[in-house]
Symmetry: C2
Subunit: 162 residues, 2 copies
DNA sequence: CGTAACACGAGTAATTTACTAGGGTATGAG
DNA sequence: CTCATACCCTAGTAAATTACTCGTGTTACG
């Protein structure tokens, strides 16, 4: 049931791009630096997002990544399904599923369908813009420190990894 | 985001026990046979459920496993959190979490909290009895064949693994 | 033309998952 | 009383997934 770190890093990168939406491309070194992860790794994630039409790229010097559409037009569902492959909790409730294996116990299928439906509701209804708003609000209120985790939420926290 | 097969097998076993609730213990060979999986594997899952107080055991000949409480009193949440370890989609929204790591991007935390809340709603509100009802209803209506997957949903399908 | 920056594929290390194996202990039936 | 049935427990392992790294190529601004 856990979300991959891939999804968490990728989603964060999209929020970082959303914050700068409209002011030109942001380079990979910048984006990777903000999360304190390697450029090579983040690049793979951004490549998936490019394939999926979420981000666009500008090559050459002063190039970088930028969002294709406005953050308010971009759902979390779209981003996560590209990063995660699928947001289905079990294969047999996935969109392009063609039935069940034995591990998909039919007795639990109604449960899984309901669960998936609720999850999709949240992911589809939440836009990247809302995450940006939450983020900036949080930053304003708690003076660059997250009230919950006690860590800096400034745009450049760099290497505070586990 | 995927549920482990561990959870799927374990949940199915609980439903199998719920169907026979009140009519004495069910042996491991019986339960494992119904799902077409090894006894050794299913035993591990049942042991977790015993530790968690969901099932009880009777040793010796004619022994087996049985539910501690009525299926209508047992939530899916309780079963899955024992099997899965936790039903949290990210560690930092888990009950006994003491904060975030860098991978828990603070900008997405409000989203994760909302998502987790919706998931918990469904898992806590759904009882094992409901799964039993869905199952028997399905069985009655479609004459031992699941309408969705086309496979048998009879109590002894045995080895129709992937 | 040189440097900054994206593009891509392959390879690897670590972790998790999904099991298997085998010996031990309790208990009811014959 | 003993034997077969059935739970109890630990350890090990194979496969799959995840989380990366590396190297080389391509594009384009200054």
């Amino acid at each position: 049931m856990k979300l991959s770190t891939r999804s968490k890093y990728g989603l964060k990168a999209v929020v970082d791009l959303a914050i700068r939406y409209g002011s030109g491309p942001v380079s990979l070194p910048t984006l990777a630096g903000e999360q304190g992860i390697s450029e090579g790794y983040l690049e793979q994630l951004l490549r998936e997002l490019k394939k999926g039409g979420v981000v666009d790229t500008v090559r050459g010097a002063q190039g970088g990544y930028e969002l294709v559409c406005a953050p308010s037009e971009l759902s979390v569902q779209r981003v996560l399904s590209l990063l995660e492959g699928s947001t289905a909790v079990v294969d047999c409730v996935d969109i392009d599923s063609r039935g069940c294996t034995s591990a998909c116990t039919c007795s639990a299928r109604p449960l899984f369908l309901k669960l998936q439906s609720r999850i999709n509701d949240v992911l589809e209804q939440t836009t990247i813009q809302e995450l940006v708003d939450d983020y900036t609000e949080q930053k304003k209120r708690y003076d660059r420190t997250c009230s919950v985790c006690g860590q800096s939420v400034s745009p450049v926290p760099a290497k505070n990894r586990e």
